[in-house]
Amino acid sequence: MELREEMRQSILKRLKNKIDPLEGFYASPEVKEAILAVLISGRHLLLEGPPGTGKTTLAKILASKLDAVQIVEGCRFNCDPVSPSTNCPDCHGNTQGKQAVILSGNSRFVRVQGSPELMPEDLLGDIDPVIAMQKGIHDPQAYTPGSIQRAHRKILFIDELNRIPERTQNTLIQVLEERTTTLAGFEIDIPVDTIVIATQNPQEFAGVDRISETLGDRFERIQIGYPSFEQEIAILKRYAREYKGISLGQDLLEKVVAVSQATRNAEEISRPASVRASIATYEQAQAIAQLEGRDCVDLQDVRKAAMISLRSRVELSTFSRGTGDGSLFFERIIDENLGLSEKNK
């Protein structure tokens, strides 16, 4: 079964049983629905949003919902033992004498970290020079598959697509539309049945390239924003670590989130706190309480933790940066949201 069909079935099955197919990913119902619609339609997904909005989490969740499949042992291209591709350099459509290996759903996930140094060869594979010299350049064994080939029958997750130089981006074009790759120099087409889930940071962030129009046209772009207050609380409850023996009350949890949320609305801030900042505050507050030998986190702990996590993450805009390192500003925004500002006065 094709991966897109598998994905479709898996989502529909869950929808039918009234289970959230994106369980563990928190976003508005509209965004979730849009993501599901794109996946059901079997198209590739490009998630756009600031860092720390659960883009990677989403891709992992999707992979984990896939069923386990069998692959031919030793085949670097994950061929299906039932119908191996005749073009595959490793099995040549011949599975005799080869065992089938189970590939679990969780491992059906290939991750590519986008960076300006990523070369086309990293994605498309390259000729291994040593083997090529030993066995001859025409031996398919001399060919090392790249991330794209390894993603056959898996989800290909490309993080920060727009940090990849355009030359490397272009290698994706064929696989996205035709679902095959042509091995350079061998002139054989290898099927790559994959769903690409890519992420990109918005244009404002530093060090990003733009995605070429031809590539962008092959993706469905969905914007993911910061989670809402309730969603963020749910995220903290689910993903943040909890220290044993340390309790952090619901009201403090809400305040942790309130501080992060406040940075997202403040005009003075050019890069607000991500969900990771909330998680960090949450964990650090517990750590501080533990250090001081208490078993209960209090407001001051949250305040200290928020100072630490905000100051290293949040970036002030050019206009407000003039006033020192901004710690005064952080103090104000933290105190306001922790309800401390009145007390100090």
Binding site: E33, L36, A37, V38, R43, P129, V130, Q134, D217, I222
Partner: protein, 921 residues
């Protein structure tokens, strides 16, 4: 993609025409149908809005006027209640409601003539009213251009509100007579209702007070059941009043009552006497309360003699204002709007949720993508792949939701198409896709046909007067001068205040433009609109064919003269001209270039310097034309309110190009390749060991084989460590370049500033091309112009560079200091360069620096300060290079050399155009 009232308002405002929406409106308002049986009598059924829309002209008026009011039955008695109302106000509805609750009328009578009422009904059910827009309209007979009646409507108007009130409460509304307010309703045309609203409120209060007093007086005087005509309005008084006054009063009153009687004596099957609520405006119809008496005395015999059995006047209730009625301002404000909004949201909802088949959805998809491709604001349409994606996403959504409707189509368009839209560069509207979806799903258009749009907006302006004037000006033979040809674009001089307002609006609409002589001229757009207008007039038969042709030729000539530049100059000539302009600009130390200064400049050039000038620079008129021409080519741009001009970046660009083309190509670069030295070049390239991650194509075969040979190994046994790969050239890092241009007075001589400008422009262009960040600072002691570091396009730079002026003293130290600050303004680890373009004659020093350096043993503090600043900059990692602009031996060489030594950069000297060429290359 829900449609909101605001969207409709926007669309109406954009197009200025409600009919854009008539189809949509028809669908919306079809929903609530007034029942026919509720009508008081057959001849005045409540008219369905769609009929109103269908008979947009006088059809409806005819229905209301009609001779269908023939059959008559005589009622036993009629109960009348006359309410005085203001002409407009948002609380009218609540007032009406409370009155109606109390009185429970069978009929509402409006003192308005049927024709106006017909128009008011049209308006009341129109989208404009529903969207809270006031309107002006005219009713004209078919085939005639002159309007019969001109009317203004307001959503909170009395008649309008009464109509809607009647409709909503199922009470018939009839027109009784001439609209009493006609005289005072003379709303200041062109200003609309908003101001008047205020007026009317005051009027209302006044009226009510007056009416109250009247009522009280009357009741006090005559408590008995025997009404008596007060003296003031007695027959005698009427007689004593001036003839015309009396007649008018009588006529109005009698008409009103005769009409009322006529209507009320029509067939009425109810046994009880009908109750009638009469709405009038006391201010304009003050004597209504005496009408009964007047009628009783048979003054109006001849007018209503037909109404045989006389109604029971004793029941005529005069209740102007009951203190029990609370007039609450917000209560029912804009109830028409609310009503419409309700229907409208129902409609939107049902339209969006109406289920559709896959085929229909695909058709809608095609419509959406088609609309996107043809939309004027979108540069790149949607690819077919995008359309396919949208359909697939749509089907996915349909599976999730288990149904397919327009909302899903819209949502899938948002998902799939949103990121694929490429807007034109000058458009930032992010709501564009939503607009397009609304347009397609609901079937209307936000953006009217541009051709019509131009006409509509032109016509709207001061009732087309301005347009007429402009149009006529277009044909006027221009005042006596050399250009007696028709191609002359006449200037427009506003004659009074109102014209001025119109002018500002016209300028905003890009229809006229201020020329360099301070006069206004039509733009191409305007002339094209005028041509369209002319075409329209011709078609409607307003003008004769001859007139059409003559005017058309004139306009076409005008257009032609606007499009074509008059001078054909070679690029060399143009470059020379620009050089001269720059020279003129600098040498006269003028802020601007204008005709006078240029004329003087050329005069001097010709006579005292003996240069040979081309024909058009000598002649008075052609020089004028030349300047206009340069302005048209964007080489000169008007500045500020004065008539002066300034060089633009385009001029600089042009000059640079001209210089570069002149320069012979550097041969050296090619020669090495030709001689076959390229091989040796490659041979000498460095290689390194293979490490994982290196690509196959980077492997240097020759060094690898050499390595294998050296190790005396066979190919079978090679290891990774034997492989050699090319050392890649490191990427060029971004540099921050700050140009520091000396614009002191000394730069004004010997075309120094011109060279400085060109050097700056060249560096800036080259720097930006190589993706460096470039900033600029132009300094003298009197003023500074700064451009912070940027990597964006160079037009702004060139504009600024072109507009530099030489004045003041040289404070190099301060310039370097400021540049240093700007280089460190935003943190980056880029290499920092400072390029000082100067003639190297510092003459000034800032006070602060002076006090600091006072103890210095050196004589020249200005130089010392500059060197100190340079040292400081060098310590912070800024490399200072100098482009020294100086003739032979005229300048302070040593100082410049010192400065460069401290700054650690390079020194280039520019003595003339030749040096400049080398530098720019």
């Amino acid at each position: 993609m829900r449609l909101y009232i605001e969207d409709l308002q926007r669309a109406i405002a954009n197009s200025g025409d409600v009919s854009v929406f008539s189809r949509l409106y028809h669908r919306v308002t079809e929903y609530p149908q007034p029942e026919k049986s509720l009508s008081f009598y057959g001849e005045f059924p409540l008219v369905k809005p769609d009929i109103l829309l269908r008979d947009r002209d006088v059809g409806l008026a005819n229905i209301l006027y009609g001779e269908k009011t023939a059959r008559i039955h005589l009622p036993a008695s009629i109960k009348l209640k006359v309410l005085s109302m203001p002409l407009s106000g948002h609380n009218l509805m609540s007032y009406l409601k409370s009155s109606a609750e109390r009185y429970k009328p069978d009929l509402i009578a409006l003192i308005v003539d049927p024709l106006t009422m017909a128009a008011e009904i049209q308006y009341a059910f129109s989208l404009a009213c529903a969207c809270d827009f006031s309107c002006q309209a005219s009713i004209r007979e078919r085939g005639r251009r002159e309007p019969m009646v001109k009317l203004s409507f307001h959503p909170a108007g009395l008649i309008n509100q009464a109509i809607l009130f009647g409709w909503m409460n199922k009470i018939p509304v009839i027109p009784l007579g001439k609209r009493p307010a006609e005289a005072k309703l003379n709303f200041v045309h062109g200003q609309g209702f908003i101001d008047l609203n205020h007026h009317e409120t005051i009027n209302w209060e006044k009226n009510q007070r007056q009416a109250e007093n009247d009522l009280e007086n009357w009741l006090n005087q005559k408590p008995e059941n025997a009404p008596e005509i007060p003296e003031v309005i007695s027959r005698d008084l009427l007689r004593t009043a001036s003839e015309s006054q009396r007649e008018k009063l009588l006529e109005e009153s009698c008409y009103f009552f005769s009409r009322l009687m006529q209507v009320l004596t029509h067939e009425n099957e109810q046994s009880r006497s009908p109750k009638v609520l009469v709405l009038s405006d006391l201010a304009h119809f003050p004597d209504i309360k005496y009408l009964g008496h007047l009628l009783e005395e048979n003054i109006t015999d001849e007018i209503w003699r037909n109404a045989e059995p006389q109604p029971d006047y004793n029941n005529l209730i005069l209740d102007v204002k009951n203190p029990n009625y609370q007039i609450v301002d917000e209560a029912e404000s804009g109830s028409a709007c609310k009503l419409f909004a309700r229907y409208f949201s129902d409609f939107t909802e049902s339209r969006l949720n109406e289920s559709m088949t896959d085929d229909e959805a695909i058709k809608l998809t095609a419509q959406i993508t088609g609309r996107i491709r043809s939309h004027p604001a979108i540069s790149g349409g949607i690819s077919v792949r995008g359309t396919i994606a949208m359909i697939e996403v749509m089907r996915g959504l349909a599976v999730i939701r288990g149904r397919l409707n327009r909302e899903i189509v819209g949502r899938s368009a948002q998902i799939a198409l949103g990121s694929r839209l490429r807007l034109k560069s000058d458009i930032t509207d992010s709501g564009l896709l939503d607009d397009i979806l609304k347009e397609t799903i609901f079937g209307f258009t936000f953006e009217p046909d541009p051709a019509q749009m131009g006409l509509a907006t032109l016509k709207q302006l001061s009732g087309g007067n301005m347009l007429d004037r402009i149009g006529r000006m277009g044909q006027l033979p221009p005042e006596g001068n050399n250009f007696q040809k028709t191609g002359f674009n006449p200037s427009i001089v506003p004659s009074d205040e109102s014209d001025n307002k119109a002018l500002i609006q016209l300028i905003k609409m890009d229809l006229i433009k201020r020329g360099q002589d301070g006069k206004y001229r039509l733009t191409r757009k305007a002339v094209q609109s005028l041509l369209d207008e002319l075409e329209f007039e011709m078609k409607s038969g307003d003008i004769s064919a001859d007139e059409y042709h003559s005017r058309k030729t004139a306009l076409q000539n005008m257009l032609k003269s606007m499009v074509q530049p008059r001078f054909k100059m070679s690029s060399k000539e143009l470059a020379e001209t620009i050089m001269e302009l720059v020279d003129a600009h600098d040498s006269q130390w003028n802020k601007e270039i204008n005709f006078q200064s240029l004329r003087t400049y050329y005069h001097i050039k010709e006579n005292s310097e003996g240069s040979k000038l081309s024909e058009y620079k000598r002649d008075y008129h052609s020089l004028q034309k030349l300047i206009e021409d340069l302005e048209k080519r964007n080489i000169l741009a008007p500045i500020g309110p004065s008539s002066g001009l300034i060089l633009t970046g385009l001029a600089m660009d042009f000059l640079l190009k001209a210089i570069l083309i002149d320069t012979p190509v550097h041969r050296d670069a090619h020669s090495s390749l030709e001689k076959g030295q390229a091989v040796s070049y490659i041979r000498s390239i460095e290689t390194r060991r293979y490490s994982s991650g290196d690509t196959f194509r980077d492997i240097a075969i020759r060094p690898t084989l050499r390595e294998i040979a050296r190790q005396k190994r066979s190919l079978k046994n090679i290891r990774r460590s034997d492989l050699r790969v090319f050392l890649k050239q490191r990427r060029k890092t971004q540099k921050d370049i700050m140009l520091c241009i000396d614009t002191s007075g000394s730069m004004g001589f010997h075309q120094k500033l011109l060279y400085a400008r060109l050097a700056a422009a060249g560096i800036c262009k080259a720097g930006l091309r190589e993706k460096n960040r470039v900033g600029l600072i132009a300094f003298s002691d009197s003023d500074q112009i700064t451009v912070p570091l940027t990597e964006e396009n160079d037009t702004r730079f060139l504009d600024i560079v072109a507009g530099l002026q030489a004045r003041g003293n040289t404070n190099i130290g301060e310039g370097i200091k400021r540049s240093r600050q700007m280089l460190f303004e935003n943190r980056s680890r880029n290499q920092k360069h400072l390029v000082l373009i100067s003639d190297g004659q510092p003459t000034a020093i800032s006070e602060e620096a002076y006090s600091k350096l006072q103890g210095s043993p050196l004589k020249d503090l200005t130089e010392e300060y500059a060197i100190a600043e340079t040292r400081l900059a060098a310590r912070q990692g800024i490399r200072l290079s100098i482009i020294h602009i100086a003739g032979d031996g005229e300048s302070n060489e040593q100082f410049v050399k010192d400065l460069v030594r401290c700054g650690g950069g390079i020194l280039k000297r520019i003595k003339g155009p030749g040096d400049l060429k080398n530098l720019v290359n």
